[in-house]
């Protein structure tokens, strides 16, 4: 019985049963686990949902109780489950043990003797061990070595070799004190150089704005490496390899180089080319297996500098900042990117912030990011995920839609991010399925982005969300590069593909390629331009310098570096710095025009003008408060006076002269300009520009009392010597300046906008980009009494959607708002008026005139009355009525008021009498409207009687200057220099007096302090009462001229008494600006 009970079969059955039991228990544990709702009680969906409800409604006591009960219930359930699993596991283990024991027992009961095989003759086991053992031990040794090497690669020492650096970094961070405690959203900007200094340097890939365009002059077009002609220096690059382009700031040229083992940053002397310092990045974490293309290398990205530190990034994600002395300031590691060619996106710096486009992996990998670091400290300001795949493009920083944006492109999106927090503003689909290598460029409201494999598109980066449908202006699939970035040159977009085909497009219209030019070599370097020439560096060292035109590409010269070159050049005054694989070259001349000499970088009166937005103020004394609104009326702060209607409040202005000796003074203005003078107290401002030297324009400041030239500041052009399209009449200094009594503002036909202090220093400077305008930008500036500066930036065709109204804070240059306008190019100026409630900007253009809220740019109303007209005359506002006209359109009188399109309701009257002006603005008196066309025909319309034409008077001469009204007399200034003073009456035109200047006159006269100021082709005249008479007016024109350099505070002390406004409408405007209510207005009117 006993033997039977413990028979082999019984024991084996017991083993099988216990095995099955263990399996069953194990399965139950797994099934129980799978059926659980969540890993932990707090992950249960029901609990999570209730918690969310409670977060939304924290005062809900009943809900709170419900959650408590559920929490308890879930926890009990959880621990029950856990106990179940634990007990199950113990039972299972015992089951397994039983299985093993019974199994062994069973085996023991039926144990078979092994059946050893007969050992074959030959070497015995020891000999085999002796032979094979050696190989096995060698394999083991190799395995140990391999493990150590892998460990070493993965576990590179993270700490710096010497801890001195780490301590110094920590100390320096702690030294920052409050800076370290500043929330990450706030950016610490230390004393970074002034924007214009930055604009004149070459601080990042393709220059300050990433466009590849240089503002510098005297750039060489040929050199000879053998004779040394125009070779300033050539430095051996016996350093670590790198493909990044040189960047330049002041006297320093920076490069980076790296291999798998180390990363280095180099600083060279710009004057001599000598290596000033060479620093290896310390404390760099292990690079691991960096995936990269051999041609890309470990240092493919171009560095960037903010003028105080140079920032470098390497293929393994090492991001490092060195100061200009070569001290490592901070170090970050972004980790090794998943990028098959290796990381090659260059860095961008803007206003103390460093931007890193960190694209990697595929679109769906969620690996790509845009980082923003605080330059001085390296603190992360923000980062934002990017829904794109790996790329090698470089970000741009531009100011658009009232805010600064970082524009990044990669497959499949171009995206604009707010610099403040990295929030996405807009996105445009582009570069789909491509290896994005060509970086975007921005020019005058258009971004050009594309890569071989998909279309290149020109799009307008405005709006929000996916704006692909409405933003893309044109696209092309021909000649698209995959490495070299595009170049905007004058009105063309130039593309260079890797095989050396140079393709030209109309940058605005796009369409078919205008021409192609085979450069005959391969290209990796992006094209650049300087002094109206394009510089192209081929991979083999061939250099092609040429001039693109509408017809084709004209080669100026062909040079040779004598070695391979894949980096893009850097430009400085008179110099071009090029990185070859073996040498760093500097070509140029020792003698450099001081106007663009980097030694003058600190001279802010020579503010640079690259198309970077440069809104940061210079480190100058604080501005005084804005003068009271009344003082705007007593001065002549903008084109045709404060409201742009040409009406002066003066009452003692001379009506002419017999001889020019009667002029109070006459001053030579040595640069031509079509702009009118503006006057504030004792200062008179105007601009001038030599058409033969487009690179420099000047702002003049004269004493309005004596005509003495107080100062003259040269403003370098952001477009360098590039020819700007203008007409002969408008020239390079057509728009009239504006002033708010603290700063004088000037705009030039190429879009450069500058603010100068009253002692001639540049306060800020920026550019709106080169406008699409047949005659060049000629619209004058408008200034509001609250210091808001308005630019009417109409250009191109209406369908191009390039036109806009732009408002800046005059003091800082910060963009306040932009308002898009569906109008083509125009030359009329905006006017700022008050309707008693709020201040409006009124701007005309084909086909409408509209009023915009000065606060935010919102369009308030519009009237369609200017169809098919390239509007030249500025709208005239007077006594709640607006008068607009243009050659080819009617003369319309519009009543202000209403919202939206008020064409039907607000046109008081319109006249199609004809002969309306295309240049000169209207003049509105209380009873008449005067229209002066370019041929000298003055037409008078009855303002009160529906615009009935009353009379015409032909002055038989051409007119460009707009008439002004002083009292009841109109001043008409002909191009031949004759001044006609007339008194319009209902029946006829009474000619009061005609005076001659005998010089060409195109600028409108200005009146201030009872003085008449007239600009001729070469002079500025002032006419007025003699001093004894003028003194009785209690104006200040008798005081001594203000010497140059006198500050504004002194002037304020001597400011004339504030005149009371005579116009009731002006009074209402002043009340509006003071913030008084309409009730107060009624009271005042009463």
């Amino acid at each position: 019985m006993r033997n039977k009970f413990f028979s082999y079969r019984a024991v084996l059955s017991a083993a099988i049963i216990s095995g099955c039991f263990s399996l069953l228990v194990g399965s139950l544990i797994v099934i129980d686990f799978v059926n659980r709702e969540a890993d932990t009680p707090v992950d249960t969906p029901q609990y999570v949902a209730l918690r969310q409800q409670w977060i939304d409604d924290p005062t809900n006591v009943a809900l709170e109780e419900e959650i408590r009960d559920l929490d308890l219930k879930l926890r009990k359930k959880y621990f029950r489950n856990r106990d179940f699993s634990r007990r199950g596991a113990i039972i299972m283990l015992y089951g397994i043990l039983a299985t093993l024991l019974f199994g062994k027992w069973a085996a023991d009961l039926k144990r078979l003797i092994p059946s050893p095989t007969v050992k074959p003759p030959g070497p015995d086991e020891d000999e085999k061990l002796s032979r094979h053992g050696l190989i096995a031990l060698a394999a083991l040794a190799a395995g140990i070595v391999l493990v150590v090497v892998v460990m070493r690669q993965k576990d590179e020492r993270l700490l710096p070799t010497t801890l001195t650096h780490a301590r110094s970094t920590t100390e320096s961070e702690s030294d920052l004190g409050t800076a370290a405690a500043i929330p990450s959203s706030r950016v610490v900007v230390d004393d970074i150089p002034a924007p214009e200094v930055y604009a004149r340097s070459w601080p990042r890939f393709r220059g300050p704005d990433g466009s590849g365009r240089s503002i510098h002059r005297q750039i060489p077009t040929h050199w000879d490496l053998e004779s040394g002609e125009h070779v300033l220096w050539r430095t051996d690059l016996d350093l670590l390899p790198g493909n990044g382009s040189p960047i330049v700031f002041g006297e320093q040229v920076f490069l980076s180089g790296a291999d798998k083992a180390s990363c280095e940053v180099y600083c060279f002397d710009l004057s001599t080319g000598q290596l000033v310092w060479r620093r290896e990045v310390e404390g760099r974490p292990a690079s691991g297996d960096v995936e990269l293309f051999a041609d890309t290398g470990f240092a493919a990205s171009t560095q960037a500098t903010d003028g105080r530190r140079v920032y470098s990034i390497f293929a393994d994600g090492t991001l490092v900042a060195f100061d200009f002395e070569g001290v490592q300031v901070w170090l970050k590691s972004l980790g090794v990117p998943q990028n098959s060619y290796g990381h090659a996106s260059s860095l961008a710096v803007d206003q103390g912030q460093l931007y890193v486009q960190w694209d990697q992996g595929d679109e769906d990998d969620d690996l790509s990011k845009l980082y923003c670091f605080d330059g001085p400290t390296g603190d992360l300001v923000w980062d934002t995920p990017r829904p794109v795949s790996k790329s090698w493009t470089t970000p741009l920083v531009v100011e658009l839609d009232s805010r600064r944006q970082v524009i990044c492109i990669a497959d499949p999106w171009a995206i604009g991010y707010a610099v403040t927090d990295g929030a996405e503003i807009w996105r445009v689909r582009c570069m789909e399925g491509t290896d994005g290598g060509a970086s975007p460029v921005y020019e005058n409201g258009l971004v050009f982005a594309g890569n071989d494999g998909d279309d290149l598109i020109a799009f307008q980066p405005t709006g929000s969300g996916d704006i692909t449908e409405e933003a893309v202006r044109w696209r092309t699939d021909w000649g698209i590069p995959n490495i070299c970035s595009p170049l905007v040159f004058q009105e063309w977009l130039l593309l260079v593909d890797s095989f050396g085909m140079l393709t030209c497009y109309d940058k605005v219209a796009g369409g078919e390629a205008l021409w192609e030019h085979d450069l005959g070599t391969e290209f990796s370097s992006s094209p650049s331009s300087a002094e109206g020439r394009v510089y192209l560096f081929g991979d083999g060292g061939q250099v092609v310098i040429g001039t693109p035109a509408a017809e084709g590409f004209e080669i100026v010269s062909e040079q040779d570096l004598g070695e391979r070159c894949v980096a893009s050049p850097a430009f400085q005054p008179g110099r071009i710095i090029v990185r070859g694989v073996d040498h760093l070259f500097c070509f140029g001349t020792e003698t450099v025009d001081e106007a663009v000499n980097p030694d003058q970088a600190g001279d802010d009166s020579r503010g640079g003008g690259a198309s970077v937005a440069m809104a940061a103020p210079l480190d100058v004394a604080p501005l005084p408060d804005l003068p009271p609104p009344e003082t705007f009326q007593t001065n002549w702060p903008s084109f045709r006076g404060l409201e742009g209607n040409g009406i002066s409040e003066a009452d003692q202005v001379v009506d002419g002269w017999d001889t020019l000796d009667e002029a109070l003074w006459k001053t030579v203005i040595d640069l031509p300009g079509a702009n009118s003078p503006i006057v504030w107290d004792d200062r008179l401002f105007l601009t001038g520009a030599d058409p033969d030297q487009p690179a420099v324009r000047s702002v003049f400041c004269l004493s309005s009392a004596t005509g003495e030239l107080l100062w003259k500041t040269s403003i370098p052009s952001s477009t360098g010597d590039q020819v700007v399209k203008t007409s002969e009449a408008t020239g390079l200094a057509a728009p009239t300046m504006a002033t708010d009594g603290r700063l004088a503002y000037a705009i030039f036909p190429n879009g450069d906008l500058v603010a100068l202090t009253f002692d001639g220093h540049v306060r800020w400077q920026k550019t709106l980009g080169l406008p699409e305008n047949h005659y060049g930008h000629a619209s004058s500036l408008a200034i509001a009494t609250n210091g808001v500066l308005v630019v009417q930036w109409d250009q191109g065709r209406a369908k191009d959607k390039l036109s806009k109204l732009v408002a800046f804070d005059g003091a800082t240059g910060e963009l306040k708002w932009e308002a898009a306008r569906d109008v083509p190019e125009s030359w009329c100026s905006p006017v700022i008026i008050s309707d008693g409630e709020k201040m409006q900007v009124i701007a005309a253009g084909d086909p409408f005139v509209a009023g915009y809220d000065l606060e935010n740019g919102d369009e308030i109303w519009r009237v369609d009355c200017l169809k098919n007209a390239e509007v030249g005359p500025t709208p005239v506002y007077n006594e709640n009525e607006l008068f607009v006209t243009n050659d080819g359109a009617d003369l319309s009188c519009i009543r202000l008021g209403g919202l939206g399109d008020v064409t039907e309701s607000n046109i008081v009257w319109s006249s199609d009498w004809g002969g309306f002006p295309d240049i000169c603005s209207l003049l509105a008196t209380p009873d008449f409207v005067l229209s002066l066309d370019s041929y000298g025909l003055l037409s008078c319309f009855d303002r009160r009687e529906g615009g009935e034409p009353l009379w015409e008077e032909d002055f038989l001469t051409d007119f460009n200057a707009s008439p002004i009204l002083v009292g009841d007399r109109a001043y008409l200034l002909g191009m031949d220099g004759d001044l006609y003073v007339i008194k319009p009456e209902r029946e006829k035109c009474v000619r009061v007096r005609t005076s001659k200047l005998n010089e060409t006159c195109v600028a409108s006269p200005a009146v201030s302090q009872n003085r008449l100021f007239i600009r001729t082709a070469k002079h500025l005249y002032s006419f007025g009462m003699k001093a004894d008479k003028a003194s009785s007016t209690q104006r200040h024109n008798s005081r001594e001229p203000i010497p140059p350099g006198a500050n504004h505070a002194d002037q304020s002390l001597q400011a004339p008494p504030v005149a009371q406004p005579k116009s009731r409408f002006l009074a209402s405007r002043l009340r509006s600006e003071r913030g008084e209510t309409s009730a107060a207005k009624i009271s005042s009117d009463e």
Binding site: S115, S130, L134, A136, R152, L159
Partner: protein, 444 residues
């Protein structure tokens, strides 16, 4: 099964304490010490187990008793004492005790470390055979063990020595108790542990079913010491109680490859080659040691990175570099202390320096082990019958069970020819119990 165990141990997951009730969060407390009694009992049981194991191995030569002892040891040292203290882990305490004068090694630990060594020195590796709970786990699951080639056995066996060197260095520098951290069976003993450890233990268990005692043979650092001591033990296990009939049965049943067949006559050419190999082995030995010393220096940074101080400093550095945005609990705790990061980096730097020396020592040790093995396999020691490798034999007693001579001695068979033919080919089933008419056992 492993999955089930992982699920069962999943309560290691941490989740927030209740937030809506007055939940009393348990205060962390130091577990009660065992007092004096339990350690003494532990030591006494260990001594008893070792004595019994030696007795069963050398005197009774009983596989069955050894198995029972194995089960008992597994139950007590494994599941009851949850694998701690064990002589394997005690190696680290002793190493730390030598390295750090402030560290007092408990008597129990010293006893657990030294007693098996003493017993091994006298009786061979009887501890491994039936006292060690880790060995017991593997012994019990060894269902069908394959025989590994000796060259593989000898090479993989060196890993245990390298592991021993690393474990000693890590323990001495307070880097961590590697042996305990990667004990594959402790999670089974405790019914606890992280998933990684459970998977590691499951892999080792599964491997042990087809490869005899993989942990003991190729990884166990304590086993590495015992192997050396076992080779010079006073008493040694003899497979046949009498003259070996070279039936080859024992070699085939030993799952640990610890029984070596008799050597054959070597040809003169082979002898020459062997001598040349030995000569070169002796010449190259110092070079190998030096090379591995250099390799140890090269590996020192990686070794140092295991140290918690260095790990924390590295983590802080990564956080400072921006490589990682998330703080770990350690780094957050450190930052809360207000201690400057530089201090932590200083401490880490010292440890880096320390490891530079220790890395060289570990390299030299590895080189020495390799060089010794190269010399060892180059030396030929003639054998005239089947012999247990004294260093490799874990005294499991399997060979007794199969040895026809032993069966004959026990009276289970009358003549060895009942089990094996004259030409050595076995036949029949193995008698496992003594016949009623069998004579009484006399002596070992």
């Amino acid at each position: 099964m492993a999955l089930s165990l992982m699920i069962a141990s999943a309560h290691a997951e941490v989740f927030p304490v209740p937030t809506f009730r007055d939940h009393a969060i348990p205060t962390p407390s130091v577990p009660d010490v065992d007092g004096y009694v339990l350690p003494i009992i532990d030591i006494a049981i260990l001594v008893a187990a070792l004595s019994l194991a030696s007795y069963f191995t050398l005197v009774l030569r009983s596989r069955r008793y050894l198995l029972l002892l194995t089960l008992a040891s597994l139950a007590y040292f494994g599941f009851y004492r949850q694998g701690c203290v064990c002589p394997i882990g005690a190696t680290q305490n002793v190493a730390l005790g030598f390295a750090d004068a402030n560290y007092v090694v408990p008597v129990t630990t010293v006893a657990f470390f030294t007693l098996p060594l003493i017993f091994t020195l006298i009786f061979g590796r009887t501890f491994c055979g039936s006292v060690c709970p880790l060995g017991a786990m593997q012994e019990l699951v060894a269902i069908r063990s394959m025989t590994l080639p000796r060259w593989l056995e000898h090479s993989l066996g060196l890993v245990a020595y390298i592991y021993l060197g690393a474990a000693v260095i890590f323990a001495a520098t307070r880097t961590g108790f590697l042996i305990c951290r990667y004990d594959p069976f402790v999670s089974f003993f405790r019914m606890d542990g992280n998933n990684g450890l459970l998977v590691w233990g499951s892999i080792m268990m599964a491997l042990a079913m087809v490869v005899g005692r993989p942990y003991c043979r190729f990884l166990c650092p304590y086993g590495a010491i015992l192997r050396v001591l076992g080779a010079v033990s006073k008493y040694k296990l003899s497979i046949p109680p009498d003259t070996c009939i070279n039936c080859q049965l024992c070699e085939d049943v030993c799952p640990y490859g610890a029984i070596h067949p008799p050597t054959s006559e070597q040809e003169s050419e082979s002898r020459k080659r062997g001598k040349l190999q030995l000569k070169w082995s002796l010449v190259l030995a110092p070079l190998i040691i030096a090379l591995f010393g250099a390799l140890g220096w090269f590996a020192s940074i990686s070794l140092a990175n295991f140290h918690p101080t260095v790990r924390l400093a590295n983590q802080l550095q990564l956080e400072e570099l921006g490589v990682t945005e998330d703080y770990t609990e350690e780094s957050e705790a450190f930052r809360n202390t207000g201690v400057p990061i530089a201090e932590q980096q200083d401490a880490a730097d010292k440890i880096h320096h320390q490891f530079r020396t220790l890395g060289i020592w570990l390299g030299l040790w590895t080189g020495l082990v390799l060089a010794t093995k190269i010399v060892y396999i180059s030396v030929r020691i003639p054998r005239y019958d089947y012999q247990a490798d004294r260093s490799g034999c874990v005294s499991c007693g399997r060979c007794y069970w199969y040895c026809p001579v032993e069966k004959q001695r026990l009276g289970l068979i009358d003549d060895v020819s009942e089990l094996v033919q004259i030409d050595g080919a076995p036949r029949g089933t193995l008698p496992s119990s003594k016949p009623a008419n069998a004579p009484q056992e006399t002596s070992a």
